[in-house]
């Protein structure tokens, strides 16, 4: 079990959102208890513990899907069913020759992985409820097939489960087998959870557009996670079949899904220890309160309703004492532009990002009506105009959220494809948002680290096993993020939950996240909104410093003073059309601009 604790107790940010509950102490206690449990010589408790381990093997994977990625997969019991029947049928020789139980178990895992992807695919395109319904439908159908496919599953009569050979024979041998797999599942999912993959999953859940802008490919990542969660569910199913020694479709009720699901919700989203403890407690509880057994599902459902209505953050939120400590009241953001040289690559090459003839309308509204714009390395380009003149829309076109009806965008002469927002990060185009898009429950440091996602080298499987490349990635990302935070003046708040920050601090945090990309182009959407005069002055100096180190900046702003102070060139939009373009001095004296926007 010390293995399990290792990745979590690694020196990490003082209070990562993962670290808030998960000191290694808990894991060591759990591990020792698990290892020493057989000394009790109580086979009844042993069976309950085995069931808890098996459930946790499944829930550990599901935790990444539900707790981290926020996908409402309510029918994950189907993976257990599939894994159980695959293992049992293969081991019993119902399909071809008899397989060795371990091979059959592995096949159960593969089956689960495939099913995980099939069920997960709709999550990439569909809205939440549709996906929930798909998983529910899938579990209904798996049970129907198990009932109807008598040759393989034995139909309603059932089929015997596999028996694993010595040293994992039924009894304490099998107990240790389940224990070992549960520990392995914990370790692997904790590795993912604390990696850039885990952070990206949470970002998909809480700030999807920001995740895309940071180069997270939602589709690829979710498929990998569904595959892992399916495989763990399948393996859990094989173990379950062995523990039950005889399986019928009745054994896999939809209500089991509810148990898995609420264990994760009670434990808290984005935690590993919380759901693990909740799984153990929920599995054991009905056993020690005999009259409750019949009503256990009812109680689980009631618990689910209560959690959703009263404490949507789960118990982990309630226990999160560290983040209740008051923060210093009068905080000042002291930017340190001199650090930029270390944060950014010095671009000596000249880049240009341009749009020509962009037209975009929403229904009858012409949001952009033939816009030309060019941003060059090393200069600050201001984009101003009244509300509704199409500034943010233009930015959304450039960063790949909208597809215009006409026109094109180019990066250094090469056509920049529209949509595909997650490909902008690879081209080193970073942005911030008018309303900060942040992961409120994650620490400031974790939020900023999301921005460096594309620099990770380790593959998903390397991360799963915490291989050296993964650990190097993490160290580099953390270092870069702390540096970026120091640059924008937030390093003191690195460990604080992001949703406790003031609005102005969130704006600087978004800039730090964007800087993680070492951007060739940085697009800022009203970064000065809500800032004090002093903060605006520091922001201006920071933006100028960023541009002087070679980054092209596109700045959308309403603060005319800031625009005229720091911009090299300014484009004025009105009703989706370019009203004027030129140097700040030219714009300031432009008659139409003054009358339409600046005022006399």
């Amino acid at each position: 079990m010390t293995d399990t604790a290792a990745p979590i107790s690694q020196p990490k940010a003082p209070a990562g959102w993962l670290g808030r509950l998960e000191g290694s102490a808990w894991w060591i206690v759990l591990g020792l208890a698990g290892l020493l449990l057989p000394l009790l010589e109580d086979s009844y408790i042993g069976v309950i513990a085995q069931r808890a381990y098996i459930y946790w093997v499944l829930s550990a994977g599901l935790n990444l899907v539900v707790g981290y990625a926020g996908q409402i997969a309510i029918g994950w019991v189907s993976m257990l069913t599939l894994g159980a029947y695959t293992t049992a049928a293969l081991a019993a020789g119902r399909v071809g020759p008899e397989w060795h139980p371990f091979l059959a178990l592995a096949a159960g895992g593969v089956m689960g992985a495939v099913a995980g992807v099939v069920v997960g695919l709709p999550a990439l395109r569909l809205r939440t409820f549709y996906f929930a319904m798909t998983t529910l439908g899938f579990s209904t159908i798996v049970t129907q097939v198990a009932l109807a496919w008598k040759d393989v599953t034995g139909g309603g009569v059932g089929t015997p489960g596999p028996v694993f050979p010595w040293p994992f024979d039924p009894g304490w041998g099998f107990y240790y087998f389940c224990f070992f797999l549960a520990a392995l599942a914990t370790w692997m999912t904790a590795n993912i959870g604390a990696s850039r993959y885990g952070r990206a999953l949470v970002a998909i859940r809480d700030a999807e557009v920001a995740a895309e802008a940071s180069g997270v490919s939602k589709a690829r990542l979710l498929i990998l996670v569904f595959m892992l969660a399916g495989a763990l569910g399948g393996v859990a199913g094989g173990l379950f079949a062995s523990l039950q020694s005889y399986i019928t479709p009745d054994a896999f009720t939809f209500e089991m899904s509810v148990l898995f699901f609420i264990a994760i919700l009670i434990g808290g989203r984005g935690s590993i220890l919380g759901p693990a403890l909740a799984t153990i407690i929920l599995t054991a509880l009905p056993e020690f309160a005999a009259p409750l057994v019949q009503w256990s599902t009812f109680l689980y459902a009631t618990l689910l309703l209560v959690i959703v209505l009263v404490i949507p953050g789960g118990i982990a939120d309630l226990l999160d004492f560290r983040n209740r400590r008051p923060l210093e009241k009068h905080r000042e953001i002291v930017t340190r532009p001199e650090l930029l040289a270390r944060v950014l690559d010095r671009h000596s090459e000249k880049n240009t990002l341009s749009m020509t003839g962009i037209e975009l309308h929403f229904g009858g509204v012409r949001a952009i009506d033939g816009l030309d714009l060019e941003v060059r390395s090393g200069e600050v380009h201001g984009l101003i105009g009244p509300n509704g003149s199409g500034k943010t829309t233009a930015l959304n076109v450039l960063s790949g959220y909208y597809k215009p009806h006409a026109g094109e965008a180019r990066l250094n002469g090469a056509v920049l494809p529209f949509l595909e927002a997650h490909t902008r990060a690879d081209r080193r185009i970073a942005r911030t948002f008018q309303t900060p898009r942040i992961v409120g429950g994650a620490s400031v440091l974790d939020n900023v680290m999301i921005g460096g996602t594309i620099f990770g080298q380790a593959t998903f499987s390397e991360t799963l096993l915490s291989l050296p490349r993964h650990r190097r990635d993490e160290a580099h990302l953390r270092e870069a993020a702390l540096l970026a935070l120091a640059t924008v003046g937030l390093e003191q708040l690195a460990a604080v939950r992001a949703d406790r920050l003031q609005h102005s601090e969130l704006r600087f945090m978004e800039i730090a996240r964007a800087l993680m990309l070492r951007p060739a182009f940085l697009m800022l959407d009203e970064p000065a909104a809500g800032l004090s005069a002093e903060e605006i002055r520091r922001l201006g100096a920071l933006i100028v410093a960023i541009s002087r180190s070679g980054t092209g900046v596109l700045l959308i702003e309403h603060h005319a003073d800031l625009i005229f102070d720091i911009c090299d060139r300014v484009t004025v939009l009105n009703l989706g059309k370019k009203l004027a373009a030129g140097t700040p001095a030219e714009i300031r004296s432009h008659r139409e601009v003054v009358s339409a926007y600046l005022g006399a």
């Binding site: 395109r125 409820f129 798909t134 209500e255 009812f298 689910l304 959220y401």
Partner: protein, 289 residues
């Protein structure tokens, strides 16, 4: 065989369509998909059998009482599971709250009524089936219920002032509130109507599907398929989708067997949604950054 595919398929399809409409009515009023639609269908059957078969109540009285219980369930659903989470609808907590409530009711049913499927009484004491297999009441009743519901809703929405208020809420609840429409009361009313339609589906379909607590999961899913395929909020889509689903399922049952029928329905569902996430008849919605 052809006769039983068509009559059984259409009848089951009508039940699916009604459950689909139940989803729609709740969705239109609140932008919430509620898992209670399948539960209402299940309750319609179980309560009907309880009142009429077990307690020997008059069929008409029992029918009215079942629908009354459905309306009550709808009100409870709105107050307990929808209203508290509407404020943060983008978190989709309603998926969990309505599911939890539906499961609670299902469990109470399983414990108090039993987990075995129990027969549902013949409602009209004439052996209509003897005249022609096509005229069997257990097939006709769901179709009749579906037709009456559609006609009723059309009348309500198109011809009455309160129906237009429903439509206004569905179209733009902010604007509707600005006009002074009592949004909360209209939403409550919608949930009550949904409760009536859901139990009506279960009640009229129960001679076929029996009074069985497990119908909840089946109806939840198969009732949602027509909504997903027909486009959410579209009752016409739900009826066409429901009837088509029923026919397809029965034909597949007869031609290739139950296993593949279930798998085929699921496969069609996934494939259609992957190609057209907004449903076959729905319109794409713009994304907002």
């Amino acid at each position: 065989m052809f006769q039983s595919i068509v009559s059984y398929g259409l009848a089951v399809g009508a039940v699916y369509a009604l459950i689909g409409i139940t989803y729609n009515v709740m969705y239109s009023a609140s932008r919430v998909f509620s898992f209670t639609a399948g539960m209402l269908g299940m309750l319609g059957g179980v309560l009907g059998a309880l009142f009429i078969h077990k307690w020997g109540m008059n069929a008409v009285l029992g029918f009215v009482l079942v629908l009354g219980c459905g309306a009550l369930m709808g009100l409870v659903t709105e107050i307990l599971t929808v209203r508290p989470v509407l404020k943060s609808i983008e978190q989709h907590l309603y998926v969990l709250s309505t599911l939890a409530f539906a499961l609670m009711i299902q469990q109470v049913t399983a414990i108090e009524w039993g987990t075995e499927a129990q027969p549902f009484p013949v409602l009209i004491p004439i052996e209509t089936g003897t005249v022609s297999a096509w005229l069997d009441q257990k097939f006709l009743l769901p179709l009749l219920a579906c037709a009456v519901t559609i006609a009723g809703l059309e009348y309500l929405y198109r011809r009455t002032l309160i129906g237009r208020a429903f439509l206004a809420i569905a179209e733009d609840s902010y604007a509707a509130r600005a006009l002074g429409l009592p949004e909360t009361r209209l939403r409550l009313a919608s949930y009550a109507i949904a409760g009536i339609i859901g139990t009506l589906a279960g009640f009229t379909g129960a001679q076929m599907l029996l009074a069985y607590f497990g119908n909840q999961a089946i109806l939840s899913f198969y009732g949602f398929v027509p909504v997903a395929l027909g486009g959410m909020g579209s009752n016409r889509g739900a009826v066409i989708g429901g009837l088509a689903l029923g026919l397809f399922q029965q034909a597949a049952n007869f031609l290739v067997g139950g296993i593949f029928a279930a798998v085929a329905v699921f496969a069609v569902f996934i494939v259609v949604l992957l190609i057209r996430p907004e449903g076959l008849a729905g319109a794409a919605t713009a994304r907002r950054v």
